[in-house]
Symmetry: C2
């Protein structure tokens, strides 16, 4: 596919691969401020563990194992609410995040990289 | 994989399939209230169109075509900000949503389906 997206930006995009098959994306939001903290991935078992323990639990695509958020870092997510979207293909977790949500130490995984708007030819 | 997830809930989950390969999930948030409205999918071209036109544009996995949110419904998303996450695999759009975000007429795609917490055996 041809695209006029800036090549520097395009090279930074990591496209969804086969390791996401069979999983559901889970959007994670701080329950009181509304900040979007991160996006994780779940299978049925991760969802079941999350619902029953109240601790956000994901499937790590890179490590191919379950991970309870915060077990290593201490940056636990206490789950307040879990919602399924209209199509049944996306989850929304409203959590109380302890410490930084991002493994980089940033408060959220979206803090660092604001993309430029309006950088291409504008359709009249 | 065995899971003790409620079978009724499990049957409603639509797992990520091959039609998501090569795309990036885009979390869409109302810029002022912080509400998570929906999750869409983008390829490079959809991202480029979104950045340059300021109108949220996605790749429809079901129709296999680009769709400018609101072109049919009038429920346009004016884009205020686009962010890429720490891993480069997820986008966050902060938008000003006109009308309902969800095709069902709900305000967001997450309004209708709150899952029960604490419904299984609790680990002591």
């Amino acid at each position: 596919m041809t695209s006029s997206l800036d090549p520097g930006l395009a090279s930074r995009l990591k496209r969804t691969g086969p390791d996401s098959l069979g999983l559901l994306p889970a959007v994670v939001q701080q329950h009181d401020t509304g900040e979007v903290l991160m996006l994780g991935w779940m299978d049925e078992e991760a969802l079941q563990r999350t619902l029953t323990t109240g601790r956000a639990t994901y499937w790590s695509r890179s490590r191919q194992e379950y991970w309870v958020k915060g077990d290593t870092s201490g940056h636990v997510q206490h789950v307040r609410e879990v919602r399924l979207d209209c199509d049944g293909d996306t989850l929304l977790l409203r959590v109380d995040q302890v410490g930084a949500a991002c493994h980089t130490g940033d408060h959220t995984c979206f803090d660092a990289d604001l993309l430029p708007l309006g950088t291409g030819p504008v359709t009249p």
